[in-house]
Every structure is written in C-alpha cells, then in structure tokens.
Amino acid sequence: LPICPNGSINCQVSLEELFDRAVKLSHYIHSLSSDIFNEFDERYAQGRGFIAKAVNGCHTSSLTTPEDKEQAQQIHHEDLLNLVLGVLRSWNDPLVHLASEVQSIKEAPETILWKAVEIEEQNKRLLEGMEKIVGRLHSGEVGNEIYSPWEGLPSLQLPDEDSRLFAFYNLLHCLRRDSHKIDNYLKLLKCRLIHDNNC
C-alpha cells in the first residue's frame, strides 16, 4: 500500500487502519491487565476473601456502560465511542499512581512492576488513538464531559497491609474489568463501522 501516493494532500491513516490498531492495542492492554491481576491475586490475595469485598467498588461504576450484547448494539456509535474515551480518561490518573505505588509492595515481582508501567504507557497511547478516531467521526469538538474521578491514592498508601493489599486488588480487579469492556466495545464498533457487522 503506497503511503501517500505522489504526495496527495489528505494523506492520512485510514479509519479502518486506526480501528485495527486501536483494537490490537486494547486487546494487548487487556491481556496485560488480566495477567497483572492474576499474578497479584495468586501472590497476595489467596484466602483473604477480597472478591466479596470488591463488589461495586470501581471508580468508573458511575458511568453507565452497556452490560450485554443488545445494549451494546442499540447504543449509537458516537455515544459508545465517547463512553470508551470517558473510561480511558478516567484511568489515566489511577494508572500513573499504580505504576509508582506498586513499587512499594513487598517483594513485588519484576513482572508486576513492568506491566504496571507498560499499561500506563499503552493506555495513554490508546487514548491518543481514540481521540483521533472520534475526531475523524465526529464533525464537532471532541466531547470532554465523560469522566469519573479517582480518589483511591490514600488507600494505596494505608499503613495496614491487609487494607492496602485490598486497595490494590480492587484497583486491578476494576482495571481488568474496564479494559475488557473497552476491548469488547472497540471490537464491536470496528465490526459495525468498518465491516458492516460482518466480521
């Protein structure tokens, strides 16, 4: 595929390519998020009953996101794209702190440390891509209104180890969940907008 044959004016990455890269990145971010959750769960959460406490503890639970195929297919693509943008933005701040605070966990394995940093970087990269996609699809200004603040930093620094570990567990549980939503919604949007629901 020649890049910008004879220097044409509107030489840009196609919408299909943008979606391909966004889906590949969201898939990768979710794989990392699953791995880091599983590693943390195996190493620090066994037998502490964290799952029962982690119910309804995500800072993004205020964002109404589709919970089944029908809802996801009925929502207009602009609204779903804005939701994805909103969830991604809501994770910028916690991921910055996760990458730094995770260093303080006792004997945290190198793989957890590296993944926390990698997820933070790739999440920013995906946000850049999503803003580009939304900019391409929406004629108007990219809406900034969807955002859910995170106030969890103090709980990652609690002196009591059990409480602090639960705070990490809950954050990683929510990251796994939200990154899976983003990956799933982007795959849906790609099939809808690029492949006319015929993936």
Binding site: I51, A52, S61, K69
Partner: protein, 210 residues
Amino acid sequence: SPPEKPTIIKCRSPEKETFTCWWKPGSNGGHPTNHTLLYSKEGEEKVYECPDYKTAGPNSCYFDKKHTSFWTIYNITVRATNEIGSNVSDPHYVDVTYIVQPDPPVNITLELKKSVNRKPYLVLTWSPPPLADVRSGWLTLEYELRLKPEEGEEWETIFVGQQTQCKMFSLNPGKRYIVQIHCKPDHHGSWSEWSPEMYIQIPTDFRVKD
C-alpha cells in the same frame, strides 16, 4: 433431618449471551426436598429467584439474555428445603465474562493442494460454532488445532489465533493423520470440546524436493 446443603458445581455460557448453573443436591434427610436458586447482582440489594428451572434440565437454572449481564458479579446460592428444615449452599460468585465455553467449530474441511512450485501442502478450513455471534464482534474466538499420525502417541498442537483456515506444510508422507480443532473466547473462558476426529491420508509423494 433437614436436607444437606447442596453444592453449585458449574456455571457455563455457550455464546456469551445466556448462561446456566448446575448444582448437586446433598442427601434429602429422608424427606422430599425441593431446591430454590437465589441470586443477587453486584451493586443491588434485591434478591431474585432463578428465572427458569426447566430449560437446562434437572438441578439447573437457565438465565436467558434478559437475565444475563456482563462485567457484574452474581452472588448465587441454592437452598434445599424439606418439611424438617432447610440448608443453603455456599455462595458462588460468577461474572459471566469468565465462564464462556463455546461449542466446537463446525464445517471442517481438509484438502491437499500443490503450491506454485509444485510443493504439496494441506489446507484446513472451519467455521465458528453456529451459536457464537462473531460477526457483530461481541464474541471473538481463537482456534487451536491438533494432529497426529493415526498410530502416533503424541498430539502436535498449533495455535492459529482468530483465523478460520490454516496451511500445513511439514507432514509425514504416506501417513494417515487425525485432525481436530477447538476454540475459546479471545481472553477469558475455556476451550470448547475438540471437534469430532477427521482423517486425511498424506500421499507418499508429499516430499520436499531436493
């Protein structure tokens, strides 16, 4: 005596749209016992009863699309009751996202072909299980195939990602191979059963040229 507490043994979603849970009753304490499945959903106080005890057979509860939500934790218990008293199972926490086990792939074809420079190879093609809606992108499946010479011991397994076809070059001339394929959702859930065994005879001239 009151019935023993039942045990929830498995929950499964075949296509990431509905799911079913099964339980194993304990002893009925010598009295006719009935079972009630109750569940609550993350972020809600309300407790619901199983919407459908029939569709999936005895000791089961079937949740149709309307009753199935993703990325949310179901807290499920089963209560056994007889005239003496009742007993409740341990709670079973389920996020349907993680219990998807698809049916095996279908329409598997095996075909021996010769490439441009007359090099023979085997082409396998297959389709996703009918129940799975991969077209909309709601469910994305990955595939893995395994093959071995008929009398061989060791399976050779090949992960092929999301493709629905695969070319095999390095096969043993003159051998009869068994081939099977299975699939799994792209992130969470478990592998389907293997597809039924298929056989292919590799001709003796299936040789790599000098």
